[in-house]
Subunit: 241 residues, 2 copies
């Protein structure tokens, strides 16, 4: 047991508490990594996401879980952090597909989150960072595109000891990158992720119940509908599917 632990590589896993990151955490563990999970209190409008991240970190047996405060509200500019902006609701999937960058985009958020994951990974001596970005059903965020992930990985290998000392290359793993929301739901179910305790909604009710109308709820519902399976999160709150 001790020998196995010593040989087990460590990965830093970005964990927001949503369907995608909970699935990525399970994938990292399936691939043999001990997981150090990293969440951010970045001034998002609700704390249900962080509660879901804690629940996932605990249920999936992470080695360590840090929730780091980084107050992106200091910069303003997104419906996810700025109380004055309204989260868009009830848009059709066609409208979603055709929109430009939505109001819920938080400027440079994934860059900031990956950078902090990099800082922790380097301190831990870890060469592996997992992130749940998704290039299909991606809501139009520029920092979810494969080209961005590749560019970040190239930069990370120059930013750190890895680039100077010829150590093992840092890798940014984005295993959901090319999956549809339905395929992600299938992976989550296969891996036994407790989807009743995830939070994808941009604007949940006071108990954490999903609003069912924001872009994130629409994409999640589309995924479950394609799989033909009810969403355990909606079941938990007694909501219709």
């Amino acid at each position: 047991m001790t020998l196995m632990s010593a040989a087990q590589p460590t990965a830093v896993v970005l964990l927001s508490g949503g369907l995608d990151s909970a699935t990525v955490l399970a994938l990292a563990r399936e691939r043999g990594f001990a997981a150090c999970a990293l969440s951010f209190d970045y001034g998002q409008r609700h704390a249900h996401e962080l509660a879901a991240a804690r629940a996932q970190a605990q249920a999936q047996g992470t080695r360590r879980h840090i929730t780091l405060p980084v107050d992106l509200r200091a910069f303003g500019g997104s419906a996810l952090t700025d109380q004055a902006l309204v989260v868009p609701k009830q848009r059709t999937l066609d409208e979603l597909a055709q929109q430009g960058i939505p109001l819920t985009y938080v400027p440079a958020r994934n860059t900031v989150f990956l950078s902090l994951a990099l800082a922790w990974a380097e301190t831990l001596g870890s060469c592996d960072i997992f992130i749940g970005v998704n290039a299909l059903d991606y809501s139009g965020y520029p920092d979810c595109r494969p080209a961005f992930i590749q560019a970040f990985e190239a930069m990370a290998n120059l930013a750190t000891r890895a680039g100077v000392e010829g150590a093992q290359r840092l890798r940014i793993h984005a295993p959901l990158q090319h999956l549809s929301k339905a395929e992600i739901v299938r992976e989550a179910l296969r891996l036994g992720v407790d989807l009743a305790h995830t939070c994808s909604c941009y604007d949940p009710g006071p108990l954490g119940q999903p609003c069912g109308a924001c872009d994130a709820c629409l994409l999640r519902a589309k995924g479950f509908a394609e799989v033909g399976c009810p969403d355990p999160l909606r079941q938990r709150f007694g909501l219709h599917q």
Copy 2:
């Protein structure tokens, strides 16, 4: 006056309060930018650096100055943030030149700082970020090398609206990159930077007086010695040159 302000582009300037970043702030203003200065309370062992940053931001007329708390101590691993590690002292310049990555290296610090500058720049609609990294006298930090800055700029242009909407390219300006410490001192003097109120030392005394023995103090002293000018900061504290 109003018309001039409207036409003036905005830049985000990383401002630690040291000789280098104070000089970069003056250069950004000389090049016609309105400066939004960004400092970090990242758990550095002393607050004199942040006091110097505030003094510089005020003296140089920045449009705005944010000091953002980002507690890198949560990850551990550097003599600049971890009270248990000792800042190296009294090394020769030869030892400095030959060392690998020093204990004072904070993992991925410039990546984290540039990412947060990018978040603010994008919110402001600014395409210009200034950073005071220096590839010569650079103390062996991997994230001070020109290749890193180039890779960060490439990544930043994929991470943001710039990459999606074909807007103006984001630029990471590192105007001190190829200057020696002496050349930086000369630039600072030419631009009238108040060097008495900067803080370069890794381990200053209780009033903010430089220790004179850490790597940063040695490099700064070398710069002033080559220019043949006393350091106004040491004069302010009545210290020998």
